[in-house]
Protein backbone atom coordinates (compact mmCIF):
# COMPACT_ATOMS: atom_id res chain seq x y z
CA UNK A 1 0.00 0.00 0.00
CA UNK A 2 2.77 2.39 0.96
CA UNK A 3 4.58 1.70 -2.32
CA UNK A 4 1.51 2.78 -4.25
CA UNK A 5 0.97 6.00 -2.32
CA UNK A 6 1.28 9.03 -4.58
CA UNK A 7 4.12 11.29 -3.56
CA UNK A 8 2.11 14.44 -4.08
CA UNK A 9 3.63 17.88 -4.36
CA UNK A 10 6.78 18.99 -2.52
CA UNK A 11 6.17 21.68 0.09
CA UNK A 12 7.97 24.09 -2.24
CA UNK A 13 5.42 23.32 -4.94
CA UNK A 14 2.60 23.77 -2.42
CA UNK A 15 4.06 27.12 -1.37
CA UNK A 16 4.21 28.14 -5.03
CA UNK A 17 0.53 27.29 -5.52
CA UNK A 18 -0.41 29.21 -2.40
CA UNK A 19 1.64 32.24 -3.49
CA UNK A 20 -0.27 32.32 -6.80
CA UNK A 21 -3.53 32.69 -4.83
CA UNK A 22 -2.45 35.86 -3.01
CA UNK A 23 -3.54 38.94 -4.97
CA UNK A 24 -1.18 41.77 -5.92
CA UNK A 25 -0.96 44.45 -3.24
CA UNK A 26 -1.94 42.19 -0.33
CA UNK A 27 -0.68 42.70 3.19
CA UNK A 28 0.51 39.27 4.32
CA UNK A 29 1.69 37.68 7.55
CA UNK A 30 3.62 34.42 7.21
CA UNK A 31 3.90 32.05 10.17
CA UNK A 32 7.16 30.44 11.25
CA UNK A 33 8.60 27.49 9.31
CA UNK A 34 6.92 26.09 6.19
CA UNK A 35 4.75 29.23 5.70
CA UNK A 36 7.96 31.21 5.16
CA UNK A 37 8.49 29.26 1.89
CA UNK A 38 5.62 31.23 0.34
CA UNK A 39 7.79 34.37 0.15
CA UNK A 40 10.18 32.58 -2.24
CA UNK A 41 7.45 32.00 -4.82
CA UNK A 42 5.65 35.29 -5.34
CA UNK A 43 5.13 35.63 -9.11
CA UNK A 44 7.06 38.30 -11.00
CA UNK A 45 5.28 41.64 -11.16
CA UNK A 46 3.24 40.97 -8.05
CA UNK A 47 3.98 43.08 -4.99
CA UNK A 48 3.10 41.79 -1.53
CA UNK A 49 3.87 43.60 1.71
CA UNK A 50 4.97 41.32 4.52
CA UNK A 51 4.03 42.04 8.09
CA UNK A 52 5.89 40.55 11.00
CA UNK A 53 4.10 40.91 14.31
CA UNK A 54 7.19 42.05 16.18
CA UNK A 55 6.83 45.40 14.48
CA UNK A 56 7.72 45.63 10.79
CA UNK A 57 5.75 46.11 7.57
CA UNK A 58 7.83 45.72 4.42
CA UNK A 59 9.94 42.81 5.64
CA UNK A 60 12.50 41.69 3.09
CA UNK A 61 14.56 38.53 2.62
CA UNK A 62 17.28 37.09 4.84
CA UNK A 63 20.33 39.41 4.90
CA UNK A 64 23.60 38.37 3.31
CA UNK A 65 26.06 36.77 5.75
CA UNK A 66 27.85 39.35 7.87
CA UNK A 67 25.12 42.00 7.53
CA UNK A 68 22.69 40.57 10.10
CA UNK A 69 21.37 43.02 12.72
CA UNK A 70 20.17 41.48 16.00
CA UNK A 71 17.68 44.34 16.28
CA UNK A 72 16.12 43.58 12.88
CA UNK A 73 14.41 40.20 13.18
CA UNK A 74 11.18 38.41 12.30
CA UNK A 75 8.61 36.71 14.51
CA UNK A 76 10.79 33.59 14.47
CA UNK A 77 13.59 35.76 15.91
CA UNK A 78 15.68 35.26 12.75
CA UNK A 79 17.51 38.14 11.03
CA UNK A 80 15.60 39.77 8.16
CA UNK A 81 15.86 42.98 6.12
CA UNK A 82 13.58 45.99 5.68
CA UNK A 83 12.66 46.89 2.10
CA UNK A 84 12.36 50.48 0.78
CA UNK A 85 9.02 51.79 2.05
CA UNK A 86 9.13 49.71 5.23
CA UNK A 87 7.74 50.91 8.56
CA UNK A 88 8.51 50.01 12.17
CA UNK A 89 5.91 50.19 14.92
CA UNK A 90 5.29 48.98 18.45
CA UNK A 91 3.49 45.82 19.48
CA UNK A 92 0.10 47.34 20.24
CA UNK A 93 0.00 48.95 16.78
CA UNK A 94 1.18 45.69 15.21
CA UNK A 95 -1.72 43.78 16.74
CA UNK A 96 -4.14 46.60 15.93
CA UNK A 97 -3.24 45.82 12.30
CA UNK A 98 -3.96 42.14 12.96
CA UNK A 99 -7.05 42.36 15.15
CA UNK A 100 -8.43 45.36 13.28
CA UNK A 101 -8.68 43.30 10.07
CA UNK A 102 -6.14 45.37 8.16
CA UNK A 103 -4.13 42.34 7.01
CA UNK A 104 -5.41 40.41 3.99
CA UNK A 105 -3.80 37.00 4.32
CA UNK A 106 -2.10 34.99 7.03
CA UNK A 107 -0.40 31.69 6.26
CA UNK A 108 -0.01 29.32 9.20
CA UNK A 109 1.05 25.78 9.94
CA UNK A 110 -1.30 23.37 11.68
CA UNK A 111 -1.41 20.42 14.04
CA UNK A 112 -5.08 19.79 13.19
CA UNK A 113 -7.77 21.44 11.07
CA UNK A 114 -11.41 20.43 11.38
CA UNK A 115 -13.93 20.12 8.58
CA UNK A 116 -15.49 23.34 9.86
CA UNK A 117 -12.26 25.30 9.68
CA UNK A 118 -11.31 25.05 13.35
CA UNK A 119 -7.55 25.31 13.79
CA UNK A 120 -5.29 23.77 16.42
CA UNK A 121 -1.67 24.82 16.04
CA UNK A 122 -0.27 25.86 19.41
CA UNK A 123 -0.44 22.94 21.83
CA UNK A 124 -0.78 19.18 21.83
CA UNK A 125 -2.20 19.51 25.34
CA UNK A 126 0.30 16.99 26.73
CA UNK A 127 0.61 17.20 30.50
CA UNK A 128 3.91 18.77 31.51
CA UNK A 129 4.44 20.48 28.17
CA UNK A 130 5.22 24.20 28.35
CA UNK A 131 2.29 25.98 26.73
CA UNK A 132 3.27 28.78 24.31
CA UNK A 133 0.85 30.61 22.06
CA UNK A 134 2.59 33.68 20.62
CA UNK A 135 0.43 35.66 18.21
CA UNK A 136 -1.50 32.77 16.63
CA UNK A 137 -4.82 33.40 18.40
CA UNK A 138 -4.79 37.10 17.49
CA UNK A 139 -3.91 36.32 13.87
CA UNK A 140 -6.73 33.84 13.34
CA UNK A 141 -9.20 36.17 15.07
CA UNK A 142 -8.32 39.18 12.95
CA UNK A 143 -6.78 38.48 9.55
CA UNK A 144 -9.29 38.36 6.68
CA UNK A 145 -8.10 35.09 5.10
CA UNK A 146 -6.35 32.33 7.03
CA UNK A 147 -4.56 29.83 4.80
CA UNK A 148 -3.00 26.71 6.27
CA UNK A 149 0.01 25.09 4.64
CA UNK A 150 0.90 21.64 5.94
CA UNK A 151 1.68 18.04 5.17
CA UNK A 152 -1.64 16.27 4.66
CA UNK A 153 -0.97 13.80 7.48
CA UNK A 154 1.32 13.62 10.50
CA UNK A 155 4.76 12.02 10.33
CA UNK A 156 3.19 8.81 11.61
CA UNK A 157 0.45 8.91 8.98
CA UNK A 158 -2.46 10.12 11.11
CA UNK A 159 -5.00 12.51 9.62
CA UNK A 160 -4.48 16.21 10.32
CA UNK A 161 -7.75 17.19 8.67
CA UNK A 162 -10.20 15.81 11.20
CA UNK A 163 -13.91 15.88 12.06
CA UNK A 164 -13.22 17.58 15.40
CA UNK A 165 -9.88 18.83 16.67
CA UNK A 166 -8.68 16.90 19.70
CA UNK A 167 -5.88 19.36 20.47
CA UNK A 168 -6.70 22.72 22.13
CA UNK A 169 -8.04 25.19 19.57
CA UNK A 170 -6.31 28.28 18.28
CA UNK A 171 -9.59 29.51 16.81
CA UNK A 172 -12.98 28.17 15.75
CA UNK A 173 -14.11 28.30 12.12
CA UNK A 174 -11.17 30.46 11.09
CA UNK A 175 -9.42 28.57 8.26
CA UNK A 176 -10.53 29.38 4.72
CA UNK A 177 -8.13 27.20 2.71
CA UNK A 178 -5.85 24.23 3.33
CA UNK A 179 -2.83 23.65 1.09
CA UNK A 180 -1.20 20.23 1.53
CA UNK A 181 1.16 17.95 -0.39
CA UNK A 182 -1.92 16.06 -1.64
CA UNK A 183 -4.56 18.71 -2.33
CA UNK A 184 -5.86 22.25 -2.10
CA UNK A 185 -9.07 22.29 -0.07
CA UNK A 186 -11.50 25.13 0.58
CA UNK A 187 -13.52 25.34 3.78
CA UNK A 188 -17.08 26.31 2.90
CA UNK A 189 -20.24 26.43 5.04
CA UNK A 190 -21.29 23.09 3.52
CA UNK A 191 -17.99 21.37 4.25
CA UNK A 192 -14.62 20.74 2.63
CA UNK A 193 -14.42 21.25 -1.13
CA UNK A 194 -11.34 19.95 -2.95
CA UNK A 195 -10.15 22.53 -5.49
CA UNK A 196 -7.15 20.61 -6.84
CA UNK A 197 -5.42 17.29 -6.27
CA UNK A 198 -1.72 16.49 -6.72
CA UNK A 199 -0.79 14.22 -9.65
CA UNK A 200 -1.67 10.58 -8.96
CA UNK A 201 -3.99 11.37 -6.05
CA UNK A 202 -7.45 9.85 -6.41
CA UNK A 203 -10.63 10.91 -4.60
CA UNK A 204 -10.59 7.62 -2.70
CA UNK A 205 -6.97 7.98 -1.67
CA UNK A 206 -7.46 11.58 -0.57
CA UNK A 207 -10.52 10.72 1.50
CA UNK A 208 -8.64 7.81 3.09
CA UNK A 209 -5.97 10.27 4.23
CA UNK A 210 -8.60 12.72 5.53
CA UNK A 211 -10.71 12.05 8.61
CA UNK A 212 -13.24 14.82 7.87
CA UNK A 213 -15.61 14.15 4.95
CA UNK A 214 -14.72 15.77 1.63
CA UNK A 215 -17.99 16.90 0.08
CA UNK A 216 -16.86 18.25 -3.29
CA UNK A 217 -14.21 17.41 -5.84
CA UNK A 218 -12.93 19.18 -8.96
Amino acid sequence: MVDQAPKGWTMNEVAQKLALDIPDGSYVNLGIGIPELVADHVPEGRELIYHTENGLLGMGPVPSPGTEDPELINAGKKPVTALPGAAYFHHADSFAMIRGQHLDVCVLGALQISGKGDLANWSTGEPGAIPAVGGAMDLVAGVKHIYVISQHTTKTGEAKIVRECTYPLTGKGVVSRIYTNLAIIEVQPGGLYVLEMAPGVTKEYLQAQTDAPLVGFP
Partner: protein, 237 residues
Protein backbone atom coordinates in the same frame (compact mmCIF):
# COMPACT_ATOMS: atom_id res chain seq x y z
CA UNK B 1 15.33 71.57 35.98
CA UNK B 2 14.18 68.26 34.64
CA UNK B 3 16.97 65.70 34.47
CA UNK B 4 15.84 62.09 34.02
CA UNK B 5 19.27 60.82 33.08
CA UNK B 6 20.92 59.01 35.98
CA UNK B 7 24.61 58.24 36.29
CA UNK B 8 24.62 54.50 36.95
CA UNK B 9 22.70 51.29 36.49
CA UNK B 10 22.46 51.00 40.26
CA UNK B 11 20.67 54.35 40.45
CA UNK B 12 18.51 53.37 37.51
CA UNK B 13 17.02 50.33 39.25
CA UNK B 14 17.02 51.78 42.77
CA UNK B 15 13.82 51.19 44.71
CA UNK B 16 12.58 48.07 42.95
CA UNK B 17 10.98 46.30 45.90
CA UNK B 18 10.26 42.67 46.69
CA UNK B 19 6.94 41.61 45.20
CA UNK B 20 6.94 44.32 42.53
CA UNK B 21 5.41 43.87 39.09
CA UNK B 22 8.11 44.55 36.51
CA UNK B 23 7.59 44.78 32.76
CA UNK B 24 10.66 43.89 30.71
CA UNK B 25 10.82 44.93 27.06
CA UNK B 26 12.17 42.89 24.19
CA UNK B 27 11.14 40.25 21.69
CA UNK B 28 13.80 37.60 22.00
CA UNK B 29 17.02 39.55 22.30
CA UNK B 30 15.84 42.51 20.20
CA UNK B 31 15.09 45.28 22.68
CA UNK B 32 15.98 43.23 25.75
CA UNK B 33 17.48 45.64 28.33
CA UNK B 34 20.13 43.18 29.41
CA UNK B 35 22.26 45.60 31.49
CA UNK B 36 19.20 46.83 33.39
CA UNK B 37 18.14 43.24 34.09
CA UNK B 38 21.59 42.42 35.43
CA UNK B 39 21.44 45.52 37.63
CA UNK B 40 18.07 44.31 38.91
CA UNK B 41 19.67 40.96 39.81
CA UNK B 42 22.42 42.85 41.66
CA UNK B 43 19.78 44.88 43.54
CA UNK B 44 18.47 41.72 45.17
CA UNK B 45 14.77 42.37 44.51
CA UNK B 46 12.76 39.14 44.63
CA UNK B 47 9.24 37.66 44.43
CA UNK B 48 8.77 39.65 41.25
CA UNK B 49 5.91 39.29 38.79
CA UNK B 50 7.51 39.79 35.39
CA UNK B 51 5.60 40.76 32.26
CA UNK B 52 7.64 40.02 29.12
CA UNK B 53 6.93 38.34 25.80
CA UNK B 54 9.45 35.53 26.34
CA UNK B 55 11.43 34.05 29.22
CA UNK B 56 14.98 34.69 28.03
CA UNK B 57 17.67 32.37 26.73
CA UNK B 58 20.81 30.84 28.15
CA UNK B 59 21.62 32.13 31.63
CA UNK B 60 21.92 35.85 31.00
CA UNK B 61 19.39 38.68 31.01
CA UNK B 62 15.80 37.64 31.80
CA UNK B 63 16.79 33.96 31.99
CA UNK B 64 19.40 34.86 34.63
CA UNK B 65 16.81 36.80 36.64
CA UNK B 66 14.66 33.66 36.62
CA UNK B 67 17.62 31.34 37.31
CA UNK B 68 18.52 33.48 40.34
CA UNK B 69 15.02 32.74 41.69
CA UNK B 70 13.85 36.34 41.71
CA UNK B 71 10.68 35.72 39.71
CA UNK B 72 7.54 34.32 41.30
CA UNK B 73 5.35 34.59 38.22
CA UNK B 74 5.77 35.16 34.48
CA UNK B 75 3.09 36.78 32.36
CA UNK B 76 4.07 36.11 28.74
CA UNK B 77 2.96 34.80 25.35
CA UNK B 78 5.81 32.50 24.40
CA UNK B 79 7.78 31.04 27.31
CA UNK B 80 9.93 28.73 25.24
CA UNK B 81 12.35 29.75 22.52
CA UNK B 82 15.66 28.52 21.21
CA UNK B 83 18.17 28.13 24.06
CA UNK B 84 15.45 28.67 26.64
CA UNK B 85 15.96 26.11 29.40
CA UNK B 86 15.80 27.97 32.71
CA UNK B 87 12.07 28.74 32.70
CA UNK B 88 10.95 25.33 31.36
CA UNK B 89 12.90 23.48 34.06
CA UNK B 90 11.48 25.57 36.93
CA UNK B 91 7.98 25.41 35.44
CA UNK B 92 8.08 21.62 35.20
CA UNK B 93 9.13 21.47 38.85
CA UNK B 94 6.23 23.74 39.79
CA UNK B 95 8.59 26.40 41.10
CA UNK B 96 7.41 29.32 38.96
CA UNK B 97 3.92 30.43 37.94
CA UNK B 98 2.90 31.13 34.36
CA UNK B 99 0.05 33.25 33.03
CA UNK B 100 -0.05 32.56 29.30
CA UNK B 101 -1.53 35.40 27.23
CA UNK B 102 -1.93 35.67 23.45
CA UNK B 103 0.68 38.10 22.17
CA UNK B 104 -1.74 40.73 20.89
CA UNK B 105 -3.80 40.51 24.06
CA UNK B 106 -0.62 40.97 26.08
CA UNK B 107 0.28 44.07 24.07
CA UNK B 108 -3.21 45.54 24.37
CA UNK B 109 -3.43 44.76 28.10
CA UNK B 110 -0.20 46.73 28.57
CA UNK B 111 -1.39 49.57 26.31
CA UNK B 112 -4.73 49.70 28.10
CA UNK B 113 -3.02 49.76 31.49
CA UNK B 114 -0.97 52.72 30.38
CA UNK B 115 -3.96 54.45 28.83
CA UNK B 116 -6.24 54.26 31.89
CA UNK B 117 -8.50 51.60 30.38
CA UNK B 118 -9.28 48.94 33.01
CA UNK B 119 -10.43 46.26 30.56
CA UNK B 120 -11.44 45.64 26.95
CA UNK B 121 -13.06 43.00 24.77
CA UNK B 122 -11.03 41.09 22.19
CA UNK B 123 -11.90 38.31 19.73
CA UNK B 124 -8.55 36.56 20.31
CA UNK B 125 -8.73 33.29 22.29
CA UNK B 126 -12.53 32.92 22.10
CA UNK B 127 -13.36 29.16 22.02
CA UNK B 128 -9.91 28.27 23.31
CA UNK B 129 -8.67 27.17 26.75
CA UNK B 130 -7.18 30.65 27.30
CA UNK B 131 -10.66 32.19 27.40
CA UNK B 132 -12.06 29.76 29.95
CA UNK B 133 -13.50 31.41 33.05
CA UNK B 134 -13.44 34.88 31.50
CA UNK B 135 -16.45 37.10 30.85
CA UNK B 136 -17.77 36.85 27.28
CA UNK B 137 -20.00 39.27 25.45
CA UNK B 138 -21.56 39.38 21.99
CA UNK B 139 -21.25 42.51 19.87
CA UNK B 140 -22.94 42.60 16.44
CA UNK B 141 -23.19 38.82 16.42
CA UNK B 142 -19.58 38.10 17.27
CA UNK B 143 -18.28 36.83 20.60
CA UNK B 144 -15.50 38.59 22.49
CA UNK B 145 -13.69 37.95 25.74
CA UNK B 146 -12.97 40.50 28.46
CA UNK B 147 -9.30 41.09 29.23
CA UNK B 148 -7.97 43.41 31.91
CA UNK B 149 -5.32 46.08 31.47
CA UNK B 150 -2.01 45.58 33.26
CA UNK B 151 0.01 48.18 35.10
CA UNK B 152 3.50 47.74 36.47
CA UNK B 153 5.45 49.24 39.34
CA UNK B 154 8.50 49.38 37.09
CA UNK B 155 9.34 48.82 33.43
CA UNK B 156 12.81 48.04 32.11
CA UNK B 157 13.12 49.08 28.47
CA UNK B 158 15.87 49.43 25.88
CA UNK B 159 15.71 52.31 23.40
CA UNK B 160 18.20 53.88 21.03
CA UNK B 161 18.45 57.57 21.96
CA UNK B 162 17.03 59.76 24.70
CA UNK B 163 17.30 63.33 25.92
CA UNK B 164 17.12 64.59 29.50
CA UNK B 165 13.32 64.88 29.24
CA UNK B 166 13.05 61.15 28.56
CA UNK B 167 11.96 61.50 24.95
CA UNK B 168 12.88 58.28 23.14
CA UNK B 169 13.57 56.92 19.71
CA UNK B 170 14.14 53.23 19.08
CA UNK B 171 16.09 51.02 16.68
CA UNK B 172 14.22 48.88 14.13
CA UNK B 173 12.33 45.88 15.57
CA UNK B 174 13.91 46.47 19.00
CA UNK B 175 11.03 48.90 19.55
CA UNK B 176 8.44 46.11 20.08
CA UNK B 177 7.01 46.39 23.63
CA UNK B 178 9.11 49.41 24.68
CA UNK B 179 6.68 52.28 24.05
CA UNK B 180 3.67 50.59 25.69
CA UNK B 181 5.68 49.33 28.67
CA UNK B 182 6.90 52.87 29.33
CA UNK B 183 3.27 53.99 29.34
CA UNK B 184 2.10 51.27 31.72
CA UNK B 185 4.66 51.67 34.52
CA UNK B 186 4.72 53.94 37.53
CA UNK B 187 8.47 54.13 37.00
CA UNK B 188 9.74 53.48 33.47
CA UNK B 189 13.49 52.87 33.42
CA UNK B 190 15.17 53.04 30.02
CA UNK B 191 18.67 52.18 28.86
CA UNK B 192 19.79 53.90 25.66
CA UNK B 193 22.90 53.75 23.52
CA UNK B 194 23.14 57.50 23.46
CA UNK B 195 21.87 60.44 25.48
CA UNK B 196 21.62 63.52 23.28
CA UNK B 197 21.17 67.22 24.00
CA UNK B 198 17.59 68.37 24.42
CA UNK B 199 16.40 69.70 21.09
CA UNK B 200 18.42 67.18 19.09
CA UNK B 201 15.56 64.71 18.68
CA UNK B 202 13.10 65.88 16.03
CA UNK B 203 9.74 66.30 17.81
CA UNK B 204 8.08 64.77 14.72
CA UNK B 205 10.17 61.63 15.15
CA UNK B 206 9.92 61.09 18.91
CA UNK B 207 8.29 57.69 19.50
CA UNK B 208 7.90 57.76 23.27
CA UNK B 209 7.25 61.26 24.68
CA UNK B 210 9.21 61.89 27.87
CA UNK B 211 6.10 62.06 30.06
CA UNK B 212 6.06 58.24 29.98
CA UNK B 213 9.70 57.92 31.13
CA UNK B 214 11.09 58.47 34.61
CA UNK B 215 14.74 57.35 34.42
CA UNK B 216 17.29 57.06 31.62
CA UNK B 217 20.73 55.50 31.75
CA UNK B 218 23.28 55.52 28.95
CA UNK B 219 24.80 52.15 28.02
CA UNK B 220 26.88 52.98 24.97
CA UNK B 221 27.88 49.41 24.15
CA UNK B 222 25.14 47.03 25.28
CA UNK B 223 25.90 43.32 25.24
CA UNK B 224 24.27 41.08 22.64
CA UNK B 225 22.35 38.36 24.38
CA UNK B 226 22.97 35.80 21.62
CA UNK B 227 26.73 36.31 21.84
CA UNK B 228 26.68 35.83 25.61
CA UNK B 229 24.54 32.72 25.23
CA UNK B 230 26.86 31.31 22.54
CA UNK B 231 29.81 31.90 24.88
CA UNK B 232 27.86 30.09 27.63
CA UNK B 233 28.17 33.11 29.95
CA UNK B 234 26.15 33.07 33.14
CA UNK B 235 25.11 36.08 35.22
CA UNK B 236 26.27 37.04 37.86
CA UNK B 237 29.65 36.61 36.14
Amino acid sequence: MIQKVVGSLEEAVAGVFDGATVMIGGFGEAGSPIELIHALIDSGAKDLTVVSNNTGSGEVGLAALIANRRVRKMICSFPRTANSTVFPELYKKGEIELELVPQGTLAERIRAGGAGIPAFYTPASVNTPLAEGKEHRVFKGNTFVLEEGIRADFSLVKAHRADRFGNLVYNKTARNFGPIMCMAANTAIVQVKEVVEAGTLDPEQVVTPGIFVQRVVEIAHPAHESELVAAKRRYPW
